[in-house]
Amino acid sequence: MAQQKNETAAQGHGGFPWRQVIGFILSIVLTLLAVWVVYSLELPAKVTLGIIIIFAFLQASVQLFMFMHVTETKDGSIQTWNMIHAFIAFIIIIVGSIWVMSFGMGYM
């Protein structure tokens, strides 16, 4: 027990949590930027949507890399590719469903 405690204490993770603080600031900035783009810039709806979706993916990356340490340990690359695969499937399910269901809407 005591030995294990000493080991965690000496991880070199001590000191100020820079990663977390930078991640938190980035999340807040990206959230407020999205609100600003939607409310203050009068861009066409599709452009607005495109920009805020890019912000969403950036913010998801902040969580994954700054907070969740996805690349950590020797499983890091498999974990990262698993998440990339999951998000590609996520995009295919969403875009594919909208695409399929938008056909023939004029006949409904």
């Binding site: 294990q4 959230t31 999205a34 996520f90 399910i93 969403i94």
Partner: protein
């Protein structure tokens, strides 16, 4: 044997045994499946977008102020969850417990705000059975809210174990996995924020 070398090989406590390392790896696979679960709910929501029937439109009911309160509660809780793991890796049990407590309180604030929001919508004539649009809205946002509620109970349970058993490889792994779950719920919320609320207010 010098303890210096043992430390540099082992890394953080939650990865100190093969079993704990594999459990963390397994949890990442679970999170991949969760991305797909929410993908199907987002797909249904976006396909049903605009099918409001006789009910109100989302743009009439969504309020930016309430949305920002919920978003900042959850963003901050994800940050404090990160600080909890940071303290754990420094071997500071008290700091870990304190940040986990703050994380849970912010999570409770989020769930409370969301419950208030849902009750307001129902008062304004938008409930689960109002229209295809509102059914898909409550299913998507409600599934996320259930995940957050479960996360609160889970972290509370781990805090009890930490208080009783202290920090060891098993409890450290449990904290780390719960923190992954908690940050993941913030990832899902970012997409709800963007694809449900921001989109509903502009389009």
């Amino acid at each position: 044997m010098s303890s210096e070398t043992a430390e540099s090989v082992q890394g953080p406590l939650e990865y100190s045994t093969e079993e704990e390392r594999l459990k963390i790896f397994g949890f990442w696979i679970f999170l991949g499946a969760e991305v797909i679960l929410f993908g199907t709910l987002f797909a249904t929501y976006l396909v049903m977008y605009g099918r409001t029937g006789e009910g109100p439109d989302p743009g009439e009911l969504f309020k930016l102020k309430d949305l920002l309160i919920e978003t900042f509660l959850l963003l901050t809780s994800s940050f404090t969850g990160g600080l909890a793991v940071h303290e754990m890796r420094r071997g500071n049990l008290k700091g870990l417990l304190a940040w986990l407590a703050v994380t849970i309180l912010l999570g409770l604030g989020f769930v409370g705000e969301e419950a208030k929001e849902f009750i307001e919508y129902m008062g304004d004539g938008a409930s689960m059975g109002t229209s295809a649009y509102w059914s898909s809205f409550f299913t998507l946002v409600g599934t996320h809210g259930c995940h957050v509620s479960l996360g609160i109970l889970w972290i509370a349970g781990i805090m009890i174990q930490l208080a009783r058993r202290g920090l060891n490889a098993v409890t450290a792994r449990k904290v780390f996995i719960a923190s992954l779950y908690w940050h993941f719920l913030d990832v899902v919320w970012i997409f709800i924020f963007t694809l449900v609320y921001m989109t509903g207010m502009v389009m």
